[in-house]
C-alpha cells in the first residue's frame, strides 16, 4: 500500500519536475528571445560609430568551385571550349554601403583598395569599417578609379605599389608603358588556342585577359572602370554591429567573362590586353557578381 503511494508520489513528482523544466525552458527561451530582440534594434546612423564589415569574394566557375591548373577536369564555356585557369586577380575599390533608410557611407579611400587573388584565400575578404546599421545595398568599383590611377608615387602603397607582386608578366598589376593598373587579370590554358601569331606562338596554349584603362591622364582613352551595385535585400541584409562580424558573401563567377552579354570564344580572342575589345569584356563584369547570403 505504502509502496503504491510512494510510486504514485514519485509519478506526481516526476510529472511536476518535467512540467517545471518545460516551463523553465519556455520562460528562458522567451526571456532570451526578448533579450536578443531588445539588443538588436537598428542603431542610429552615426558616421563615427564604426563597426566591422567584410565582403567576401568567393570565386567560382559556373557551377563549379575555382581550382587552379585543373587540367584533369577542365571547365567548359558556353561555346563548348574547354579550359583550365592559372591566374585570377582583380582590384576592388571604393566600397560604399546604403542603409534601409537611405544613409550612404563611403569607406575612406585610403582603406578602400583590395587586390583579390584567386590563389590566396586570405585575400578573398575586403575588410572595412562602416557605421553600425542595417545595410540593404552595396556598391564597389572593379578596378582602380582614375583619381588614384593618377596619384603621385607616394600614394601608391600596398597593393597599389607598382613594385607589388613582381612584373606584369607575373602577378604584378601595374602597367608601365601605358601608365595605369590592370583591373582584372585572368589567365589559363585551352586546347583550342592555335600555335601561330593569332594564338600563342610559344605553343603553351595560354589565354591572357588583362583588362585595365581608367580613361587617361590628359588625353581621353578607354574607360573600363566598372561600378558594381549589389542589392542585399533578397539574400540577406548586412546587420553591422560592433560586437559582430557581418560578412556579405558574394559569388564571383568568372565563367561570365566568356558567357556574359558580350560572349566570345577563346579561340577568337585568346589575348586581350589592350585594344577596343577590352571594353567588350569589361561589359561582362557586372554579371559576375552575385549575392549568395550574408552572415551576421
Amino acid at each position: 500500500m505504502f509502496g503504491g503511494i510512494k510510486i504514485l508520489m514519485n509519478n506526481i513528482m516526476n510529472t511536476y519536475i518535467k512540467r517545471l523544466t518545460t516551463t523553465l525552458l519556455f520562460t528562458t527561451t522567451l526571456i532570451l528571445t526578448a533579450c536578443s530582440k531588445k539588443s538588436d534594434p537598428t542603431p542610429e546612423f552615426q558616421e563615427k560609430n564604426l563597426a566591422p564589415l567584410s565582403i567576401e569574394f568567393d570565386n567560382i566557375v559556373g557551377d563549379r568551385t575555382l581550382t587552379f591548373n585543373n587540367t584533369g577536369s577542365l571547365y567548359k564555356n558556353a561555346a563548348g571550349e574547354q579550359f583550365s585557369i592559372s591566374r585570377l586577380q582583380y582590384f576592388i575599390s571604393n566600397i560604399k554601403v546604403t542603409t534601409t533608410q537611405g544613409n550612404t557611407y563611403a569607406v575612406n579611400q585610403d582603406s578602400s583598395y583590395f587586390l583579390i587573388q584567386g590563389d590566396d584565400k586570405a585575400t578573398r575578404f575586403a575588410r572595412v569599417k562602416v557605421p553600425e546599421g542595417d545595410y540593404t545595398s552595396l556598391t564597389f568599383t572593379l578596378g582602380v578609379d582614375s583619381l588614384r590611377s593618377t596619384m603621385p608615387i607616394d600614394k601608391r602603397t600596398g597593393v597599389l605599389d607598382p613594385a607589388a607582386n613582381g612584373g606584369h608578366d607575373g602577378g604584378g598589376m601595374y602597367w608601365g608603358w601605358n601608365s595605369g593598373y590592370i583591373f582584372f587579370k585572368f589567365e589559363g590554358n585551352s586546347g583550342v588556342i592555335t600555335d601561330d601569331a593569332n594564338g600563342d606562338p610559344t605553343g603553351k596554349k595560354q589565354f591572357k585577359y588583362h583588362i585595365g584603362f581608367f580613361g587617361g591622364y590628359s588625353a581621353p582613352t578607354l574607360n573600363n572602370i566598372k561600378v558594381i551595385n549589389v542589392d542585399l535585400k533578397t539574400a540577406g541584409i548586412a546587420k553591422v554591429r560592433k560586437d559582430r562580424q557581418s560578412n556579405i558573401h558574394l559569388f564571383v563567377d568568372v565563367m561570365k567573362v566568356f558567357n556574359g552579354k558580350n560572349s566570345f570564344k577563346i579561340v577568337e580572342y585568346p589575348n586581350v590586353m589592350f585594344g577596343d575589345f577590352t571594353a567588350k569584356i569589361a561589359a561582362n563584369f557586372a554579371e559576375m557578381f552575385r549575392h549568395d547570403h550574408t552572415e551576421n
Partner: protein, 348 residues
C-alpha cells in the same frame, strides 16, 4: 738661411699652393644648388613641392641611374642607352640596344629638360616622371627586370642603405623613394647653356653671326610652331609625314586607341642635335641634312598628317639649299657643350 731651409720652405710653399687650389674646388662641390630654373625658361611642369631636389637625393639618383642592378642580369644601366656625351641618347643606334643585345623599336630619347615635360616616351602613355623609369626597367628589350626585384637587389647593397638614409631620413627602400631619387637626378639634367641661350640672356659679348641670325629668322617662320622656344618642342604629339615603318609603329595611338592619334609621335627638342643623331622616333635619319630634306621634299600624306605640313596643297616645308645652310647654322647654336661635359651628371 741655408740650403736646407730653402728646401723646407719650398716644400711648404708647394703644400700651400696645392691647398689653395683645392679649396675653391671643394667649396664648389659642397655648394649644391639644387634645381635652378634658367631665367630664359618657363615654369617647370614637374611638381617639385612633392619631391624637392636635395644633394643626397640627387646623388642617390645618380648612383641608381648608373646602377646595373636595375637590369635583370645586372649588365645594363640607364646610362647604357642614355650616354651623357651623346646628350643622354645612345649615339649611333637607330633603335635602343638593350639587354642580351636585344633591339627595341624606338630611338633612345635624350634625358634633358624633363622638368618641363608633360608626357614621356615617343608614343606617350606615361605622364609622370616619377613613373617613367618603370618602362625601361620592365621592357623585355631594355632591362627586362621587374621593380620588385630591383628593390630587393638595391636593399642588399650596403652603400645604398646609407644613401637612402641621408636622402630620405631612414634606410627604408620603397618604390616611391627609388623613383623620386631617379627623378631628382633626371631633373638636374638641364641643358640651358647653348650659344642660343647666352644670346637670349644677353650675356656679355655673345651674339649670333649673320648666318645664324638669318637661320633664326627662318626657324621662327618655318619650324617654331612645333619646336617652340625655348625648349624647342611644344610637347605635343604630331604626325610629321614620315613614311610608315615596316613594323607599322602607330605611335601615340597605341596609348590612346583614338584613331586620330595614329602615326603621331612626340615632337622632339632640337637642342643638342650635334650629339643626338640619328633622328626621328626610329632613328631613320643619320644626319641633319637628311631631316631637312625630309621636310623639304619627302613628307608623305599618311593618316593624320599635321596640317602645318600641308599648306596650299603642298606637302612639307619648302627649304632652299640656302635656307638649309642658314637653318643648320642656327641649329648648331643649340648645342650645349657644358651639358655633355658637366661632371656633376657623370658616373662617379
Amino acid at each position: 738661411m741655408n740650403k736646407k731651409h730653402w728646401i723646407v720652405f719650398s716644400i711648404l710653399g708647394l703644400f700651400i699652393l696645392a691647398c689653395k687650389k683645392d679649396i675653391p674646388i671643394k667649396e664648389e662641390i659642397e655648394k649644391f644648388l639644387g634645381f635652378q630654373k634658367p631665367i630664359n625658361f618657363p615654369e617647370p611642369e614637374y611638381k617639385f613641392a612633392n619631391n624637392p631636389v636635395t644633394k643626397a637625393g640627387f646623388e642617390l639618383g645618380r648612383a641608381l641611374f648608373y646602377e646595373p642592378r636595375l637590369s635583370r642580369n645586372n649588365t645594363i644601366t640607364c646610362g647604357s642607352c642614355h650616354i651623357q656625351s651623346s646628350a643622354f641618347t645612345q649615339h649611333g643606334h637607330d633603335v635602343s640596344h638593350g639587354i642580351e643585345d636585344r633591339l627595341g623599336t624606338r630611338n633612345s630619347p635624350p634625358i634633358m629638360n624633363l622638368a618641363w615635360s608633360k608626357a614621356f616616351m615617343w608614343g606617350g602613355g606615361v605622364y609622370d616622371l616619377d613613373l617613367q623609369p618603370i618602362v625601361p626597367i620592365t621592357t623585355h628589350e631594355e632591362m627586362d627586370e621587374n621593380l620588385d626585384n630591383v628593390l630587393k637587389k638595391i636593399k642588399a647593397v650596403p652603400k645604398y642603405t646609407a644613401m637612402f638614409k641621408s636622402a630620405f631620413g631612414t634606410e627604408e627602400v620603397t618604390t616611391a623613394r627609388f623613383m623620386k631619387a631617379l627623378s631628382q637626378f633626371m631633373l638636374m639634367c638641364v641643358s640651358s647653356n647653348s650659344k642660343y641661350d647666352k644670346v637670349m640672356r644677353k650675356e656679355a659679348g655673345v651674339t649670333f653671326t649673320a648666318d645664324e641670325q638669318e637661320g633664326y629668322t627662318l626657324f621662327k617662320q618655318k619650324c617654331a610652331s612645333c619646336h617652340s622656344e625655348p625648349l624647342f618642342t611644344d610637347g605635343s604629339f604630331r604626325n610629321n609625314g614620315l613614311g610608315i615603318s615596316a613594323i607599322n609603329d602607330q605611335g601615340f595611338y597605341a596609348a590612346t586607341l583614338i584613331s586620330t592619334d595614329k602615326y603621331k609621335f612626340k615632337v622632339p627638342s632640337l637642342r643638342n642635335l650635334q650629339y643626338t643623331a640619328p633622328y626621328m622616333h626610329d632613328g631613320r635619319f643619320l644626319s641633319l641634312a637628311g631631316v631637312l630634306e625630309h621636310y623639304n621634299s619627302e613628307v608623305q600624306q599618311t593618316p593624320n598628317l599635321d596640317p602645318l605640313l600641308k599648306q596650299a596643297n603642298r606637302l612639307g616645308i619648302a627649304l632652299t639649299q640656302n635656307d638649309q645652310v642658314k637653318l643648320t647654322a642656327f641649329l648648331v647654336t643649340l648645342n650645349d657643350p657644358d651639358f655633355i661635359n658637366n661632371t656633376l651628371l657623370s658616373e662617379q
